[in-house]
Amino acid sequence: MRRYTKAGWASIGSMVFLAVLALCGAWTGTAWGEESGVKVSGEVQHDLAISLRGDGVVANMVSYRLSLSGELGGAGWATPGSVYISIKGDYDLQSESGKLVDLDEAYVDLYFSGADLRLGQQAVSWGTAYGLNPTSYVNPMPNPTSSPGGAGIAGIAGAGGLELAGLPVPAVSATIYPSWGDVGLVAVLNPRLQGVPVPEDVQAGIIQEVAYEVVRQKNIPPQAVTPSADHFSAEPPESLTDRLEYAARVGTRTGNWDLYLSGFRGWEDHPVLWVSMMPLIDSSTGYLTGVRVDPNAAYRKVTKAGFAASCTWGPYTLWGEASYAWPDRVPELDDPNNITFSSNEPYWQAVLGGDRTFGDAGDVYLMAEYIYYSNGSLLVPYQFVPGKSEARHYVVGTARWQPAQDHQLEVSGIYCMNDGSYVAMPRYTYQLSQSTSLWFGLALPGGDEETDFGGLSDARSATVGVKLAF
């Protein structure tokens, strides 16, 4: 007789919870939502990723999202508007980790004669490019490689129509609509810092590497190097005025063009990292007896300016988007005695791309995009090689074909022009019913171990998934 562990029961419990949620959602969405004016919708998804390197199941993820929305504008309201709230959750049955309930977005919209106001936890989505938007400053971006089993890697290239969505933050945003376009103003009240946490095992690995390097340089025994911590720790800003972030955008639509200028003053998503070293000297002999290694991290503010445009040219849609960032100087990063993983240098990010549909409207879709990062890798916000960061160039492409109403084939990929590494992601999707879809996909990273995507060889996997939307 099979014995269930406590964690196993928790897994079963979470699946039952999600199944009940799906049923309730489906019922309320049809029975309650339409009659009350409240719209209920959601989705439940299950992804199973199996390693192609023989490591078995690497991810067994159940996730859901449930949202409610309704209109304001009854007798008690002076101005029309709407309310929206959504919760989400996920649980990895493989690693037995996850968050069952997390607030996603929760805001109130108010519509005035010349302006719309949104108050609450929200995602402010700016930009014209697919997938990666250098001018979408407000919301921290989740790391596309943080999901196990290659499911996250797919997000880099927009496989399966994925776009990288920022993590919602509490904010006030206003959009004013003059006759020539729109002006967007955003004040973030409490930035969701550490949107892309560096995994603790990676942090420990970095500190270990530093210790080895010290051992090599100082020619001292390994036990003489003592890290003061096994991870980097950064304190978020405390006062409300310190936490505030501001963003503004001006846009206009002229002819076949959409044009935007934007700016941002706020916090970077990731803390900067450096390691300082303290020599330990024997006071009686004056000899070096060891070295203390102190891992340090600090959040810093940054000022950004950007430009985004899109246009249509015959059957093509074209877009270009770029931002330039001036980070506030952190003196420790310029100290030659420290080992630094971040830089005080300003940096560029840019995206240029286009897409087109061929044949009858749904037959073949092609998209290509060039991405430029002046401050290093798209995947890792830190540099591990001393000296100035090498600018990186990437090409992203997607080809999609729908041979019949219920079947879709697609191949997405991203290629790093600097080191020749890549990730290819073929995928087949079958629409089982109006509300249920199944898919099978592969995540195939390639390249040397030290390259951008070659280092993701653990994520070489096959994924099967099912999604129920209600």
Binding site: G29, K39, S41, G42, E43, S69, S82, Y84, D109, Y111, D116, A123, V124, S125, W126, G127, T128, G161, L162, E163, A165, T175, Y177, D182, R253, G255, N256, D258, S310, C311, T312, W313, G314, P315, Y316, T317, D355, R356, T357, F358, G359, D360, A361, G362, D363, Y365, M367, T398, R400, Q402, A404, Q405, D406, Q408, Q431, Q434, S435, A469, F470
Partner: protein
């Protein structure tokens, strides 16, 4: 997501044409009609009268259900709200808002065409949280996932311009007396000829058969569930296109329709961004 985008562009074209054909048929003020008044009309005059139902300009809105059926009989349904406006300078504006199914609900598509400008289309997807400017589809032949083409549902004007009409013997169809026209293309076409049954009393095409070069029926369009609207005008509430060769079917059900003018604020990027 992009697949959804392509579908929406396709549906936009279909909905635009269907609404032209149906909404303005409802608004058409009948000329002296009925068997006696129209007995001597020529084929071209009958096409003119059909054309007049699609030539009216104006504004309106409708809620429709668009159903596609594959050859195994499995159906997919989209429920949409459509707002439409046509200005005196020929600028046509249309907003298409998805009400269901859940995975596309809240998606909106805004198009501004005509008036001497290039077409402009924006798509708003709630999951993305912003609009995207997109190009129209390259071809105006068959749209993905449906059995319609622009040509087949663009009303009498296209037939008048692109076909030579010949009047055949009148027939009864579902108890309604109909003119029967045979239309032969004067330009390059997928069809050898088209046969059209036009209700004599109201000049509404009730059935259109499209014949291929072998003389076999390739597609059949039918307008059914004719009802009088609040203004006393007849209008079809179900439009069905069957692809006989492929065994597929597209059905459009008009759930609600209004000829009331639609405010210009609906046809803005601002409205797209609202939930």
């Amino acid at each position: 997501m992009v697949r959804c985008e392509m579908r929406q562009v396709a549906l936009m074209g279909i909905v635009a044409c269907v609404l032209l054909a149906v909404m303005f048929a409802a608004a058409w003020a009948p000329l002296p009609s009925g068997r006696a008044g129209a007995a001597d009309l020529t084929a071209e005059q009958i096409l003119d009268r059909i054309e007049s139902t699609t030539m009216l300009t104006g504004s309106g809105s409708a809620t429709i259900e668009l159903i596609t059926e594959n050859k195994r009989g499995q159906q997919r349904s989209n429920k949409l709200k459509v707002y439409r406006s046509k200005a005196a300078d020929g600028t046509e504006k249309q907003l298409l808002e998805y009400l269901s199914p859940a995975d596309v609900a809240g998606t909106k598509l805004l198009s501004i065409t005509g008036g001497g400008q290039e077409s402009q289309i924006w798509l708003f997807m709630p999951a993305l949280g912003r609009e995207r400017r997109i190009a129209g589809t390259e071809t105006r032949s068959k749209f993905m996932g449906t059995d319609f083409t622009y040509e087949e549902i663009s009303g009498g004007s296209a037939y008048k311009d692109d076909y030579k009409a010949e009047k055949l013997k009148d027939e009864d169809l579902d108890g309604r007396n109909c003119y029967v026209l045979r239309l032969t293309p004067t330009k390059e076409s997928d069809y050898a000829f088209v046969k059209m049954w036009v209700w004599r009393d109201e000049f509404i095409p009730l059935k259109i058969e499209f014949y291929n070069k072998d003389g076999k029926v390739r597609k059949v369009l039918s307008n059914s569930d004719l009802k009088k609207n609040s203004k006393g005008k007849w209008e079809p509430s179900t439009i069905e296109m069957s692809d006989v060769a492929a065994g597929t079917k597209t059905i459009i059900k008009i759930l609600e329709m209004s000829g009331e003018p639609v405010s210009d604020e609906y046809f803005t990027v601002r409205y797209l961004r609202r939930r």
